[in-house]
């Protein structure tokens, strides 16, 4: 019996008649519709059943008269989606943050974009939309129109909605409020953290996301499936291959499209090259954050040959646009096999040097060891993913548990470190680069012959699919719902950073100011992935808005 059948059986026996409908669509995906109000019972019984279970995402979908909430629960490689509906007039549902604290940001996102009120949520505030976004305007609802916000005046009281906090908490207080971001040298993308510090000690932090929210989920509904592949790639430049693979696999699952195995291997190769250059970039940035500039320069130098290889295969250095629905865009010429392999060999040798630096260098150890501790139990509660979870000793890897592309045929190790600190999270990445070079070598040696793509119709049948891949930063989830046309009805993206950033508050509290960059970088946050629309600068009087039409026009131009 597969994991998903087991989970569904368990749910049936536990909940009985509270379940309205059960569907097992693929061997690792199940969709369970519960009677309203009983989603909590289903989720808690799944969480109790398996200690590896966690929440992957919450998707809200506007079905017209009601809003459907999909709780994507991962349990042992399978994704069980618990569905529950709420009426659109009074969208209220009980929170699940008491069952699993890691759902806090997901619920806030749904609240923000669809207006579902989660009763009992400890901090139900805006997550991605600007603070002066008009009340009652929920962009992901189907009846929402961009004109709605163009016509309404944002909360005007003369006071900008986001202000800097006072420098101190009071005349006698030694607590200083330090704001990091939206623009700050330690952040490579606009994001804002408001720290309370006492001397050099960090007492608390409040993150604010949403500065680069681009409305991609909404925009995706207005493009055809095959166009959306290029759109989702632009969610994040660094892990574009992960997004494209994830979206394509979701659509292929809906349309029941079998892709040729050569395409599977080629996807794997590009996906792993993607991981290598992302990790190298991160290691370099980590060096910079730690004030170790040579490490930064060296890592980025060694990243260049990897980008050259990606260019050889796909024609582009970063934005590969290589993966399409039904396969890959172009074939791999046999003449470049040697070039790829020699690059991998050199890189593997070079990784010995980096491992040495991280393991031996006393100053690096001083700065990263015992810093930003995330205990395994807490990591599970917060449902963190990827290298952050693996750095806390949790062996989870979508490539192994929920194999996609060609990962079920390629042997590889899942790297875990038990140290639970920033150092462990960085070391996981160092080792993963070596592992990726092995995967690429294996894939090239066992590359099947045959076609590299199949023709896919523009229209897809009605259906829904959840697809997960292991992006460089962790598990990436796409949920695609089709209504039988050439356009998706709903596209939901849950990026690994949204899953991981929730742990930042936990691990930075009580550490020193100097540790903030070291801790933050060990999560490898990518905010452009996490935010996806609308440009409103609330810091001063300047405000501008881009309608979705503008975004589309810009997109077609570029």
């Amino acid at each position: 019996m597969t994991a998903v059948e087991e989970a569904v059986d368990h749910l049936r026996s536990e909940l009985g008649k509270k379940i309205v409908e059960c569907k097992i669509l693929t061997p690792r995906r199940a969709y369970v519709l519960t009677k309203s109000g009983y989603h909590r019972d289903a989720i808690s019984s799944l969480l109790v059943n398996s200690d590896q279970a966690g929440i992957s995402a919450i998707t809200g979908t506007d079905l017209g008269s009601e809003i459907e909430l999909n709780y994507h629960i991962r349990c042992r490689g399978a994704i069980v989606t618990i569905k529950s509906t709420v009426p659109k007039e009074s969208p209220q549902i009980m929170t699940i943050t008491d069952l699993i604290p890691g759902a806090a940001f997901y619920e806030r996102e749904v609240f923000d974009l669809l207006g579902v009120v989660f009763q009992g949520h400890p901090n139900l505030k805006k997550l991605v939309l600007p603070d002066d976004w008009p009340e009652g305007s929920y962009p992901l609802r189907k009846d929402w129109d961009a004109k709605e916000i163009e016509e309404t005046t944002p909360n005007s009281g003369g006071q900008p909605a986001i202000t800097n906090p006072l420098q101190t908490d009071g005349a006698d207080s030694s607590v200083i409020n330090v704001v990091m971001g939206p623009q700050h040298p330690a952040l490579h993308e606009p994001e804002r953290f408001s720290f309370k510090v006492d001397g050099e000690l960090v007492l608390d932090v409040e993150p604010r996301l949403g500065y680069v929210h681009r409305g991609i989920e909404k925009a995706a509904e207005r493009l055809m499936f095959f166009q959306d592949v290029y759109l989702v790639e632009r969610i994040c430049g660094i892990c574009n291959a992960a997004h494209a693979t994830c979206f394509s696999e979701a659509v292929e699952s809906i349309g029941d499209i079998a892709i040729p195995s050569r395409a599977k291997y080629l996807r794997t190769v590009v996906h792993e090259l993607n991981r290598i250059h992302s990790h190298l970039l991160l290691l370099g940035v980590a060096g910079y954050e730690l004030g170790y500039e040579p490490l930064f320069q060296y890592a980025w130098r060694d990243r260049e040959p990897v980008l050259d290889v990606i260019e050889l295969i796909t024609g582009n250095r970063i934005m590969t646009d290589y993966i399409i629905i039904g396969g890959v865009r172009r074939d791999l010429r046999p003449s470049i096999h040697d070039k790829i392999k020699s690059t991998m060999k050199k890189l593997k040798k070079q990784m010995k040097f980096y491992r040495n630096v991280f393991e031996e260098d006393p100053t690096v150890r001083l700065r990263t060891k015992e810093v930003g501790i995330l205990k395994p139990s807490r990591a599970k509660e917060l449902a963190v993913v990827g290298p952050v979870a693996r750095g806390s000793g949790i062996s989870m890897d979508t490539r192994r548990e929920d194999a996609y592309a060609a990962y079920d045929e390629i042997p590889f190790d899942v790297i875990t470190y038990k140290d639970c600190d920033s150092w462990a999270r960085l070391m996981v990445r160092v080792e993963e680069i070596v592992e990726s070079t092995e995967i690429i070598n294996y894939a090239l040696d066992h590359l099947p012959s045959g076609p590299y793509r199949v023709k896919v119709p523009r229209r897809q049948p009605e259906g829904e699919a959840v697809s997960c891949v292991e992006a460089p930063r962790g598990e990436l989830l796409h949920y695609v719902k089709s209504d039988g046309s050439a356009y998706p009805y709903r596209v939901k993206v849950r990026t690994p950073t949204l899953a991981n950033i929730i742990s930042f508050r936990d691990i930075v509290r009580g550490s020193y100011i100097a540790d903030i960059p070291a801790v933050l970088i060990s999560l490898d946050p990518c905010f452009s992935c996490t935010d996806r629309m609308t440009f409103i600068d609330t810091g001063n009087a300047r405000k501008w808005r881009w309608s979705l039409g503008d975004i589309r026009r810009l997109k077609t131009r570029s």
Binding site: P185, A186, E200, G291, Y292, P294, R301, D361
Partner: protein, 330 residues
């Protein structure tokens, strides 16, 4: 009183103000080029031959930039601190024999080593003031870090500097330099190494660039400075590096004194001085390149638990060895 042209030339041109500025700019270039090459980069390459004029270009650019004073800043302090820091450091050079004698001839006296160390301390304090006057959280934290770090390493710096004084039996910098027929680096290498590390902290270089750790607190105490004021601070930092290297040179490497092959001795002395100084700068950059930035608490702990006991031990060792080594000093 007749105007002494030679005196003015010495103070203003060589080896005085203009020479010092040129030397500082050259050392700035040298540092940047070294750091770049150690990091596998090109470094300055466009302005002038091998990018030699890059520092000048940078300062000219800074001078043309808008000069902003934050509304809440203490204006007087904010303006005075950069100028004060630069003039203090330049003044300190009066007691360093660059071409074999002091800038103002015969201005050296028994005890000028102490004066120089005091001036360096005050210059460091003006840096703290400049950050404090900006009233910006980053500057505030940066300034606090300057002071915290400085409390730790200033004492070891002074103790290490006293080693050569004991060896040569003099507190005059010129005398100490003259008495090094065998440079003190050979006699007491341990003090030299420790002094270089302490100097690294004094100059705020990696792994001690905590007061202006850009990924944590933007530019630290410099955050609010721009235009002319920033130019002043930057050039003061350059002069500070030269001064630090010069101090090590005179205390441990025999100062400007070296073989005179032909022609005027002043020229050769200047040459040797610059060569030795560049060697020290190379060492400083090398140490900076192989280490990550430490945390302020780690630095303070290391200073009080390690550096201060070690510095006292090293001084004791030097005092014990001094009678044995005295035949070699001269």
């Amino acid at each position: 009183m007749p105007i002494d042209l030679g005196f003015f030339l010495r103070v203003l041109v060589f080896p005085g103000f203009i020479f010092l500025l040129a030397l500082s700019l050259f050392c700035d270039w040298f540092e940047r080029k070294l750091r770049a090459r150690m990091q596998n980069r090109m470094g300055p390459s466009y302005a002038g031959p091998m990018g030699l004029l890059q520092p000048i270009a940078d300062y000219v650019k800074l001078l043309t930039k808008e000069d902003i004073v934050p509304v809440q800043a203490t204006r007087l302090l904010f303006t005075a601190a950069p100028v004060f820091a630069l003039s203090l450091l330049v003044f300190t050079f009066c007691y360093i024999p660059i071409d074999g004698s002091n800038i103002i001839l015969n201005s050296c006296f028994e005890g000028d080593l102490i004066l120089v160390l005091v001036l360096i301390t005050i210059a460091e304090f003006t840096v703290f003031l400049s950050g404090w006057a900006s009233t910006n959280p980053y500057s505030g934290i940066g300034a606090t870090r300057v002071l915290t770090q400085f409390l730790g390493y200033d004492i070891p710096l002074i103790v290490f500097a006293l080693g050569p004084a004991f060896l040569s039996g003099s507190l005059s910098i010129t005398t100490i330099a003259q008495k090094q027929a065998i440079p003190f680096i050979v006699l007491t290498p341990w003090t030299f190494i420790l002094l270089v590390i302490t100097l690294q902290a004094e100059l705020g270089k990696d792994p001690f660039d905590i007061p202006h750790a850009e990924t944590e607190i933007v530019a630290g105490y410099l955050t609010e400075f721009s235009g002319r004021r920033l130019a002043f601070i930057e050039i003061a930092k350059d002069v500070q590096v030269v001064l630090g290297a010069a101090l090590v040179t005179v205390l441990f490497l025999g100062g400007p004194y070296g073989p005179v092959l032909f022609g005027p001795s002043a020229l050769w002395y200047t040459f040797w001085f610059i060569v030795k100084m560049l060697a020290v700068i190379f060492l400083l950059e090398y140490v900076g390149s192989v280490a990550a930035r430490l945390r302020i608490d780690q630095v303070v702990r290391a200073n009080w638990r390690l550096m201060i006991p070690i510095s006292l031990l090293s001084l004791a060792l030097t005092i014990i060895c001094a009678p044995l080594l005295s035949p070699l000093v001269g």
